[in-house]
Symmetry: C2
Subunit: 354 residues, 2 copies
């Protein structure tokens, strides 16, 4: 046996990397729109902003909008359930849902996956999840990085980060400075916990109540707890852009917010102008079973629930009263359940849950 | 004591997050160029591509170029040395050095930091390192995410991912399809190992030779091993863009490559056209002491060294023979040591080290 040290014998599997690249090629390519430029070498992804007849939409004064996010400790649930096909949607949703708040349309996405060991099968499933979400959000997966870091991640652990770039016409940016008393708050249904608050979820379900991911829960309609908790974050891009398209952005849509960590209470004030507050009627929408389940199992105080979780409303649009019905109608037509959940009143940038 | 569970008692420190945001504000703001639009709400970073007299450069047919990367297990060295001010430059360099390969200029950068626990002091030092590198690379740090994930990362462990977007005029993209026999290969000096091959480095120095990070090493000029290994990755943006500017991109600069994992042998072929090969003269440049040190300590075979490490050349430009002297002169004038290290010959996309 040779005394020489090599990269391979130091734990870096170059063949696994080649196999992985081969496996994800189809998923990645399936997301490419006409603006993606394919160049050999692969040092970077290229996306053309050229004004040309080849593209359905051109921009006069393009402003790029960029977001980054991970999915927090939801990756631990995926790991524990050995189910990797849904967290890719969480990753894409966390960034693109942030971006559309400004009225921007997603253009492209890049992902960073890090794990103790590169398992080409697992990476392929994760990346196909990301690619499927990119297709739904209308953006191209033009780059990514996979890092094998056994010293940082424990066996089977992994983490992922996503980066999205979108574009908005400069004079159509939704600045969140125009909401006024009387405007209607429309809530878009979430699919469950989405990708925030999982440290509290884990504390409730596993540290304290010692529940199993695999046990069916009566109050969750007999579904397995793990399955309900892994439900992927909704992608709001398509229905929200449909509303913007039809209601001409800046004038009728006053503000939007993606309801992430901090809940309705923490996120709506980010887009309220001085002198206004949001009054939310808690009985105006259907809460998914998982929220009363978590609240009772904890127990968790009601006010804390609203500070941590989306409580069934994953995205909010503030709309002039004249257009509120129309906005809900467009959302519903586009497959997105939505309710009028409150209104803007005079106040000091707070959220009141009634 | 209350029986109610809270987010804070589940391990998420909201105050630390607020303190962190306050601490990094100055660093982040210091990177903003005139195209960055500051909007309250903070759901996303905004960067204007508008054509206007306000900007030093406008683009006719802009192509966006995007890269993502981490710094691999170099983060473990930073952790072990409790030194967090330099890995930010590694993070920025890994992405922007990839981007300039295509002739693109960096526009903006976003970072993702994940750790077991959010330490505002440590994050502030990391982010100032990232911001300083962004200033040097001429890009704006318009967004970022910090994730506290105690279940994924062990005590004091962390990981980071970076994401860069740049722009290049469509007809000035360096496609790497025009190198021809006779073209000169110019090597730009590296600062050491940069951010690739650290699994092999750790295997050599710590698993096998049981060296200490703190011990001064004679063959490294008496410097501490840890200090030499943490030397940040060079940023090649400024000198490389200076050469492009003066030699009019596409015509005289035939190809470029960022020398990362795979070394000269793995990276140069990525930008060689069919029918050519690169012949490199190994004695044509000065190798930093760390490479003979690692090779001897391993021991590692010479060919493996060239397949894993940059061996002192962190970036390569392929230039027409008429412009080679001029290119080296411009690089030198811009503070970047460079040598003519080989030439393009007829062959089948391989690299021959002589």
């Amino acid at each position: 046996m040779s005394d020489y040290l090599t990269y391979q014998s130091s734990g870096v599997n170059i063949e696994a990397n080649d196999e992985m690249v081969e496996k994800i090629k189809g998923s990645v390519g399936s997301t490419f729109g006409p603006r993606v430029m394919d160049l050999h070498g692969g040092f970077a992804g290229l996306f053309s902003l050229e004004n040309s007849n080849n593209f359905s939409k051109n921009y006069k004064n393009p402003v790029l909008v960029s977001c980054t996010d991970g999915v927090g400790t939801k990756v631990m649930l995926a790991r524990d359930m050995c189910k990797f096909d849904t967290v890719g949607q969480d990753l894409v949703a966390m960034s693109v849902n942030d971006m559309i708040v400004l009225g921007a349309a997603p253009l492209f996405f890049l992902d960073y996956l890090a794990a103790d060991e590169l398992n080409p099968e697992k990476v392929a499933v994760l990346v196909e999840g990301i690619a499927a979400a990119c297709r739904e959000a209308g953006c191209s997966l033009i780059g990514g990085e996979t890092a094998e870091m056994p010293g940082i991640y424990s066996k089977n652990d992994f983490d992922m980060a996503g980066f999205a770039v979108g574009v908005v016409e400069k004079d159509e940016i939704i600045k969140g400075d125009s909401a006024e008393p009387g405007d209607v708050i429309i809530g878009l249904s979430s699919s469950g916990v989405h990708s925030n608050g999982y440290s509290l979820v884990r504390n409730i379900c596993f540290n304290k109540a010692k529940l199993s991911l695999d046990s069916p829960v009566d109050s969750l309609g007999g579904r397995k707890l793990g399955e309900v908790l892994l439900e992927p974050t909704k992608l709001y891009v398509q229905p929200v852009l449909a509303v913007l398209e039809e209601l001409k952005a800046a004038s009728e849509i006053k503000a939007m917010a993606h309801i992430t960590g901090g809940g309705l209470v923490g996120n709506i004030p980010r887009v309220l102008p001085e002198g206004t507050k949001a009054v939310i009627k808690r009985k105006s929408w259907e809460k998914p079973d998982i929220f009363p389940f978590l609240q009772k199992t904890g127990p968790v105080e009601e006010s804390e629930m609203y500070r941590v979780f989306n409580m069934g409303v994953g995205f909010v649009m503030v709309v002039s009263p004249e257009k509120a019905d129309k906005a809900v109608e467009i959302l519903t037509k586009n497959g997105q359940q939505a309710w009028q959940i409150g209104e803007i009143c005079k106040g000091s940038k707070e959220v009141v849950i009634q």
